[in-house]
């Protein structure tokens, strides 16, 4: 490939750069503007290109890969429609701070702005949903741009970076010099926390009577789970996690309160409401967590540790902010602790709340329920699997009933709430994780939103267990219709219009099973866990009109928390 004088064309430089970034997998879909790249890709052997069936799938796959591995996910698509198809995925990665680099083809430079065939201003379109983006205007800038793109995507608060590559840039030649260092004077993430503030944090926690750790996805991204576990256990601090934070601290630990927020556990939310010191670690006081901000942890002294200064005082004004890398800061707080706080009574109180209002569901009428399925999956995998959920009721039930024991094993679309995330993200994760089962859990609605990727799963023989929780409804929307929209079940009933999911799976070449019988759940799951060299699909037909509780209504306070259905006769 290399010529003696080291003059390479853009496509060769592209792959030389990916090699140096240690890229091993790239999710993509070809087209006119990137043909030159695909020409060279044909002979590249240091990485595997995974052909998806829709560019949105490529981005979610890259997200799944990145979230599961901590590495940067890479996407390659063509211009115009290829690029615009990535938009939802990019927005998703932006909201959940996932490091992804998206390479889009672009029409030749001299045609930009001419409404040329398959031209779209993708840099403009994605500006508000990327951490940064580049239009490469000269092949001489290509190597440095790629270097910067990976650097920006993966450092600080991670996020998607888009690199737009005009066709002529990829084809033209220049001398290849790999930039070893990147210098971006406007971008210097703060990693080291302020020493005095960290001391102060330790003192405040040590003096607390009712401290609570409020843990978000930042702890997982920074690789701080071990530090967190040590810190929480040594100081007997209860841990409530956000949807993205699940897995940051072992869900089976006594100190874990599970998830807080809208569908959080009763005891986690009561703990938030009653704590005297709230320590937010890598979380962003999202509205699904806080509800009404005025009443959120209203009596607590609030500490906020985050790498992104814009998160601080954005939604909730805090008493003590610390900007920096949460992993290191947790370790430093731990080492500054003068003494552990007295939390015995507080933990007892939390346990009383646990007993007062445990997570329960009806399990003796012989009908199948989501909670039962998730509990079974949890029991069989002991919280060690990688579980990739879609968006809706099944997502919340999974968050409640699957107790993740490891970081990077809960993959879900939290910020954007993108239906259609699970199938491609699970496929992506399967290229990163080989030693643990990967389970994709979708609703019957969301399963149809990137259903085309089943063939990607079949073609690459990825050992993903695709689970469909079929309640014949857009269940979460139905729940809001019942609770807040006068029971007008407008366009959420899919019972007459769902496909036969077993036939669908089989058409894609995936062994598929279905049941509505609780007694068959065990054997079907055992079957699925015995298959490790290819995908398998299980459809669980569950009761139709169930609802997820507890629920703090949007914008409400903990005192508005609903713990069960108000009108039980609707339980059909």
């Amino acid at each position: 490939m290399k010529k003696s004088d080291n003059t390479l064309n853009g496509a060769e430089i592209f792959f030389e750069c990916l090699k140096r970034e240690k890229v091993e997998h790239i999710f993509g879909y070809p087209g006119g503007a990137v043909l030159k790249l695909y020409e060279h890709l044909h002979d590249v052997n240091f990485l595997q290109h995974i052909l998806v069936r829709h560019e949105q799938g490529a981005v979610h796959a890259a997200e799944g890969y990145a979230k599961a591995s901590g590495k940067t996910g890479v996407v390659l698509v063509t211009s115009g429609p290829g690029a615009t198809n990535t938009v939802t995925g990019i927005a998703d990665a932006y909201m959940d701070s996932v490091p992804v680099v998206i390479f889009t083809g672009q029409v030749p430079s001299h045609l930009i702005g001419n409404d040329a065939f398959q031209e779209a201003d993708i840099v403009g379109i994605t500006r508000p949903i990327t951490k940064h983006s580049f239009l490469v205007r000269d092949v001489k800038e290509l190597a440095l741009t790629i270097r910067k793109a990976f650097y920006i995507a993966s450092t600080g608060r991670p996020g998607p970076v888009l690199v737009d590559l005009p066709k002529d840039v990829i084809a033209s030649k220049c001398e290849f010099v790999y930039p070893e260092d990147v210098e971006i004077r406007g971008y210097k993430p703060t990693y080291k926390g302020h020493t005095n503030q960290i001391k102060k944090v330790a003192e405040v926690i040590a003096a607390a009577k009712r401290p609570l750790l409020y843990v978000g996805g930042g702890v997982i991204m920074s690789g701080g789970s071990q530090e967190l576990a040590l810190f929480a256990r040594e100081n007997k601090l209860p841990v409530a996690m956000t949807l993205q934070g699940l897995g940051a601290f072992p869900g089976t630990d006594d100190l874990s309160l599970g998830m807080l927020g809208m569908h959080g556990t009763y005891w986690a939310n009561r703990a938030v409401d009653n704590c005297d010191v709230l320590v937010s670690l890598g979380a962003r006081f999202d509205d699904r967590v806080t509800g009404k901000v005025e009443t959120f942890a209203k009596n607590a002294y609030k500490i906020h540790v985050d790498i992104d200064p814009t998160c601080i005082d954005k939604n909730v004004v805090v008493d003590l902010p610390v900007v920096g890398d949460v992993k290191h800061i947790i370790a430093e707080i731990a080492s500054e602790m003068p003494n552990p706080p007295e939390t015995g009574e507080w933990l007892e109180q939390i346990n009383e709340w646990r007993e007062e209002c445990p997570l329960v569901y009806e399990d003796n009428d012989g009908r199948l329920r989501t909670e039962f399925v998730i509990e079974k999956i949890f029991q069989k995998t002991k919280g060690e699997a990688v579980v990739v959920t879609d968006v809706g009721q099944h997502q919340m039930w999974t968050a409640q009933y699957y107790k993740y024991n490891n970081p990077r094993s809960n993959l879900t679309s939290g910020g954007l709430g993108t239906m259609g995330f699970s199938i491609p993200a699970a496929i992506g994760a399967s290229f990163a994780v080989k030693d643990r089962p990967i389970i994709s859990i979708s609703g019957d609605g969301g399963f149809q939103m990137n259903i085309q990727e089943l063939i990607t799963a079949a073609a690459y023989k990825v050992p993903v267990k695709f689970i469909i929780i079929n309640n014949s409804f857009l269940g979460m929307v139905r729940q809001w219709q019942e609770l807040f929209h006068a029971e007008k079940f407008s366009f959420t009933d899919l019972s007459a219009s769902n496909p036969d999911f077993v036939k669908v799976g089989e058409a894609f070449g995936i062994e598929s099973y279905s049941t509505d019988n609780p007694k068959e759940v065990d054997s079907l799951l055992d079957k699925a866990f015995s298959v490790n060299d290819r995908a398998i699909l299980l459809e669980f037909k569950v009761v139709k009109a169930d609802m997820v509780f507890p629920m703090v209504p949007s914008g409400g306070s903990i005192s508005d928390m609903m713990v069960k259905r108000l009108n039980p006769k609707r339980m059909i």
Binding site: V123, G124, R127, P128, K131, H132, S133, L135, R137, Y151, I152, T155, E180, D181, V182, E183, I184, R185, G186, Y187, K188, D308, P309, T310, I312, D313, K314, V317
Partner: protein, 170 residues
């Protein structure tokens, strides 16, 4: 409250759009914005006048800082600084009004930069409230068109300095 924020940005393709997108995306207000060269070729200075309470201004500054192409962000509200704006004001002429307009122009140390039988154009420079005053006084004569440059501003005494180059190695 009104704040004037001075932003040094890389003179890159799209750097300005990113700032504008951030303002509109976050729902922040832009009262005026100006952009131009600085003493360093690759760096431009944007001067943005925005409005909001302390929490909003804190967010504006942080969000600006967060953009990769911004090098330095200073809220001039907490500093001694000089603000200047330039306005071109075209006024219709009526019988006898020319002399009066000329007098007003002198009072504001403006200059007449264009004249025809029907209209004259005045250039006024100064702090924004001076421009406001000139506009108020000239309004009764019938302003046909006006263009204001938006504010440019600098800290007094000391200049914003660019961070020393340091290498990030990863």
């Amino acid at each position: 409250m009104k704040h004037t924020i001075s932003v040094l940005v890389e003179n890159h393709f799209g750097a300005f759009d990113r700032v504008a997108t951030m303002f509109s995306g976050k729902g922040f207000n832009i009262r005026s914005i100006s952009i131009g060269e600085t003493e360093i070729a690759e760096i431009s200075r944007m001067t943005i006048v925005t409005e909001g309470d302390d929490q909003i201004i804190d967010q504006v500054v942080k969000q600006l800082n967060r953009l990769i192409d911004t090098i330095k962000v200073v809220d001039l509200a907490d500093t001694y600084h000089v603000e200047r704006e330039l306005a071109l004001i075209s006024i219709g002429l009526h019988k006898g009004s020319m002399e009066q307009i000329k007098n007003i122009c002198d009072i504001f140390r403006g200059s007449i930069v264009d004249i025809t039988n029907k209209s004259m154009m005045i250039e006024v420079t100064g702090p924004p409230d001076k421009i406001d005053a000139a506009v108020n006084v000239l309004a009764p004569f019938g302003i046909k068109e006006m263009a204001r440059s938006g504010i440019v501003a600098l800290k007094r005494g000391e200049q914003l300095k660019i961070q020393k180059k340091e290498n990030i190695t990863t």
